[in-house]
C-alpha cells in the first residue's frame, strides 16, 4: 500500500514537472515603475563589425543618458542569422520595437502584413531634408515610408595600382580598354578580376552595369517593374557581355563556387587585380588598420567603363543599405520613434568618421578630415546622374531568387543570354 502511494506521488510529480516546463516565460516583460524599455536588434556583432558596433553602443548610451527612465535593450546577430530571426519574430508578431531592414522587395511583405509603422511624421518633421535624395524612396510603399536608411552604397571597380603599374596599364575608360587590361593581365598570369559569384548578387552587379551602359539608366528598372522587358535587345546584349568576359577568363577560376569573402581576400592578398564592390568596403582600402598600409596605398578605383561609346559613367549601381524600422504594435512606439530619429541624426557624421560608411544622410565632408578616396566618392555622389537600385533588392523575393540563380547560370555558361532573359520574364510575370 505504501509502495503504491509512493509511485502515485512520483508520477504526479512527473506530470507537474512536465506542465511547469510548458508554462512560464510570460511575466518577464512587465515594466512597472515607469521604466520603459526599447528593444533594439541590429546586425553588427563586435567580432566582425567592431566599428559599427561601437558607434551603435555610443549612440545608445547617449540616448539613455539624455532620456531618463528609458533603457535600450540591444540584441546583436550577424547578417544571415538576423534575417532568419526577424522573420520568425514577425511570424509570431514579436518584432523588436526598433530594428534594421532592407529596402524594396525585402520590406514589402512586412509592410503588407502591417508589421512596420509608417515613419512619415519623422521624415517630414525632425528629419526633414536630412537624407540624400533618392535614398528614402526604396523604403516607401504606396506613398508611406516604412524605413529610414542608414547607409548609401555605390559600386565601383577597385583596382591594384601597383599591379597595373607593373604591366604599364591604366584605369580603363571604355569596355575595349577593360578587355585590353584583362588580356595583358592574363598574359602575365595575374588573375584579372576577383569575383565571388557563389553569393550571386556580386555577379548581378556586373550584369546591372552592362545593362545600364548599354540600355541606359531606365532599361533594367523598367524591365523589373514590368513596363519593359528583359528580352529588350539591350538587356540581352548586357548578358552577352557578361558571358564574353567570363569566356575570356576575366574572372577568377571557379567564381561560381567562391564566396564574396574569399574573392575579397584574393584581391586583398594581391592575387587579383580588380574587384567590383560597393562602398561598404571603402574602409579596407583607407582606414582599416588591420590591412597593411602598403596595400591600402596601392588601391584605387574607377567608374564602370562605357561600352562601345554608350553609357554615362556618372550613372551608378547601388542603393541604400540597411534602414531602421519601428514595429507597428510596439508598446513604446513614441519612444521608439524618438530613438530612431536620435539615432539617425547621430549616425551620419559618426559613421563616416569612425566606420568609414557613406551614410544616407547628408554630411558636410569639408568640415571633416577624410581620406581622399571618401572625398572622391562623396563628390561622385554629388555629381551622380542616376542610381540604379540593386536588382535583387528591386524584385520581390521569388523573382530575386530566380535572378540570382540565373546570374550563376549565366556566368557558368549554362544558359544563353536569350534563355537568361526568358527565365526572368517568366519569373516576373508571376509577380503581381
Amino acid at each position: 500500500m505504501k509502495k503504491k502511494a509512493i509511485t502515485t506521488l512520483l508520477s504526479l510529480a512527473f506530470i507537474l514537472l512536465a506542465l511547469v516546463g510548458c508554462s512560464g516565460a510570460e511575466e518577464s516583460n512587465s515594466a512597472s515603475d515607469g521604466e520603459k524599455t526599447i528593444e533594439f536588434m541590429h546586425l553588427w556583432p563586435e567580432g566582425s563589425s567592431a566599428k559599427h558596433n561601437k558607434i551603435v553602443s555610443d549612440i545608445v548610451a547617449d540616448f539613455e543618458s539624455q532620456n531618463e527612465g528609458i533603457t535600450v535593450d540591444v540584441e546583436v546577430l550577424s547578417n544571415e542569422q538576423y534575417k532568419d530571426k526577424i522573420k520568425v519574430l514577425a511570424t509570431s508578431d514579436e518584432l523588436p520595437d526598433v530594428g534594421l531592414t532592407w529596402a524594396a522587395g525585402y520590406l514589402k511583405p512586412y509592410v503588407e502584413a502591417g508589421q512596420f509603422a509608417p515613419l512619415d511624421d519623422l521624415l517630414e518633421g525632425e528629419l526633414a531634408d536630412s537624407f540624400v535624395s533618392g535614398t528614402t524612396e526604396p523604403y516607401a510603399i504606396d506613398g508611406s515610408t516604412y524605413g529610414l536608411p542608414l547607409e548609401l552604397n555605390v559600386a565601383n571597380i577597385f583596382y591594384n595600382k601597383a599591379i597595373f603599374e607593373e604591366y604599364g596599364l591604366e584605369a580603363p575608360e571604355t569596355y575595349e580598354d577593360l578587355k585590353n587590361v584583362i588580356t595583358t593581365l592574363k598574359e602575365n598570369e595575374v588573375a584579372p578580376i576577383a569575383l565571388g559569384n557563389k553569393d550571386s548578387w556580386t555577379g548581378s552587379m556586373w550584369y546591372m552595369y552592362f545593362a545600364d551602359r548599354i540600355g541606359g539608366s531606365e532599361a533594367l528598372t523598367k524591365a523589373i517593374s514590368g513596363d519593359g522587358s528583359f528580352e529588350d535587345p539591350a538587356l540581352v546584349k548586357a548578358a552577352e557581355k557578361v558571358q564574353e568576359l567570363a569566356d575570356m577568363g576575366a574572372f577568377i577560376r571557379g567564381t561560381n563556387g567562391i564566396s564574396d569573402q574569399e574573392a575579397k581576400s584574393m584581391f586583398m592578398n594581391e592575387q587579383a587585380a580588380m574587384y567590383l564592390i560597393a562602398t561598404w568596403d571603402l574602409p579596407n582600402y583607407t582606414t582599416n588598420e588591420q590591412v597593411p598600409q602598403e596595400f591600402r596605398d596601392s588601391v584605387g578605383y574607377f567608374k564602370f567603363p562605357t561600352v562601345n561609346g554608350n553609357g554615362d559613367k556618372d550613372s551608378f549601381v547601388g542603393g541604400p543599405g540597411v534602414g531602421m524600422f519601428v514595429a507597428e504594435n510596439s508598446d513604446v512606439k513614441a519612444e521608439a520613434k524618438e530613438f530612431v530619429s536620435f539615432f539617425i541624426k547621430e549616425w551620419g557624421e559618426k559613421s563616416v568618421k569612425e566606420a568609414g560608411v557613406i551614410p544616407a544622410t547628408k554630411v558636410d565632408a569639408e568640415s571633416m578630415e577624410l581620406p581622399q578616396m571618401y572625398v572622391n566618392v562623396l563628390n561622385d555622389l554629388n555629381n551622380a546622374s542616376n542610381l540604379t537600385l540593386f536588382a535583387d533588392v528591386q524584385m520581390n523575393p521569388d523573382a530575386a531568387q530566380v535572378h540570382l540563380d540565373q546570374i550563376q547560370a549565366l556566368f557558368g555558361g549554362e544558359v544563353t543570354p536569350e534563355q537568361f532573359a526568358e527565365a526572368h520574364e517568366e519569373a516576373l510575370s508571376k509577380q503581381e
Partner: protein, 292 residues
C-alpha cells in the same frame, strides 16, 4: 509492483508525461507543417487557404524533383560507403598495430561541427589556392576541376566531406558490434581452417547483421534530410546543382518568402522519408535474429 503495473490508470499516468512531450514537440509541429502547406503564406502576413495547390505545384516542380534526385544520390552513396566503413572497422577490430590510434583518428570529424567541416573543405576545394588542386597541379594536371563551381561535379565533390564526416560514427558502431562477437566462435573457425576473408564474410558479418541493418536505415534517412554542409558550402548552387530537398525547402521558406510552399515541401520530405524507411525495414526484416 505487479499490481501497480496491471492498473490501467497507473499505466496511463506513467505514459502521460512522455506522451505530452512527444505530442507537443513532434506531432503538433508536424500537423502544423502539413497545415501551413495548404496556405498561400509569405510567413509574415495573413494566410490564405488554397487547398492542395502547393502540394500539386511541388509535384510538378522540376526543381523539387532535381533536389529529391540529389538527396537520393546522397542516400545511395552513403549506403555504399557503409561497406568501406565496415571493412575498415573489421581491420581495426582485428589485432593490428596502432588500431587504437587509428580509431581515434577516424573519430575526429565527428568532433567538429558541420560548419567547421564545411569551412575546412571550402578551403580544400578552392580552385586556385586549395590543397587539392595544388596537388593536382603538382602532378601535372593542366586544368584541375573547379570543384564547387562546375554543376556536373559539385554534387559529388560535396559528397566527399559528407561521407568523411560520418565515417567515424559508423566505424564506431561497427567496431563496438564486432567486439561483441565471442572470441570462441572465431577461434573455432580458425581451427577449422577458415581464412580471414571467410571469417569476415561467413561469421562476423552475419553476426552483426542486425547492426548493419540499423546503420543502413540511419544512413538513408540521414541522407534524405541532409542539410547543413550543403547549405554552408554552396547554398545549393551553382544554379541549384547541389540543391537537396532540405536546402530547397529552406530556400523557399526563408529566401523567397514562400512559407506555405516551403512547408508543403517539408511535409513531402517527411512522407518520402517515411515511405523509404518502411520499404527498407520490409526489405531487411526477413532474417531472424542471431543468437550467440
Amino acid at each position: 509492483m505487479n499490481k501497480v503495473m496491471s492498473n490501467k490508470w497507473m499505466i496511463a499516468i506513467y505514459i502521460l508525461p512522455a506522451l505530452l512531450l512527444v505530442g507537443i514537440l513532434i506531432f503538433i509541429p508536424l500537423i502544423l507543417t502539413a497545415y501551413y502547406g495548404l496556405m498561400d503564406w509569405n510567413g509574415i502576413g495573413a494566410m490564405e487557404f488554397i487547398g492542395l495547390e502547393n502540394y500539386i505545384n511541388a509535384i510538378q516542380d522540376k526543381n523539387f524533383w532535381d533536389s529529391a534526385l540529389h538527396s537520393f544520390l546522397l542516400a545511395i552513396f552513403s549506403t555504399l560507403s557503409l561497406a568501406i566503413y565496415l571493412a575498415v572497422s573489421m581491420i581495426l577490430a582485428s589485432k593490428i598495430k596502432g588500431a587504437d590510434f587509428l580509431r581515434k583518428i577516424y573519430l575526429i570529424p565527428m568532433l567538429l561541427s558541420s560548419v567547421a567541416i564545411a569551412q575546412l573543405w571550402i578551403k580544400v576545394f578552392n580552385p586556385t589556392n586549395g590543397i587539392l588542386n595544388r596537388i593536382l597541379l603538382f602532378f601535372g594536371v593542366e586544368k584541375p576541376p573547379i570543384w564547387l563551381a562546375n554543376p556536373d561535379i559539385v554534387l559529388y565533390a560535396i559528397f566527399i566531406p559528407i561521407l568523411w564526416q560520418y565515417a567515424g560514427f559508423y566505424i564506431l558502431i561497427y567496431y563496438a558490434a564486432l567486439k561483441n562477437i565471442p572470441n570462441s566462435l572465431i577461434e573455432a573457425a580458425k581451427i577449422d581452417g577458415a581464412s580471414p576473408i571467410q571469417i569476415a564474410y561467413k561469421i562476423k558479418l552475419p553476426l552483426i547483421m542486425g547492426v548493419v541493418k540499423v546503420t543502413i536505415v540511419l544512413a538513408i534517412v540521414g541522407s534524405l534530410k541532409y542539410f547543413d554542409l550543403i547549405y554552408v558550402m554552396t547554398g545549393g548552387g551553382p544554379n541549384g546543382a547541389s540543391e537537396v530537398m532540405a536546402s530547397y525547402m529552406y530556400k523557399l521558406a526563408f529566401s523567397t518568402n514562400d512559407f506555405g510552399y516551403g512547408s508543403a515541401i517539408g511535409f513531402l520530405l517527411l512522407i518520402i522519408t517515411l515511405i523509404v524507411t518502411v520499404i527498407i525495414r520490409r526489405l531487411t526484416a526477413n532474417d531472424e535474429e542471431v543468437q550467440y
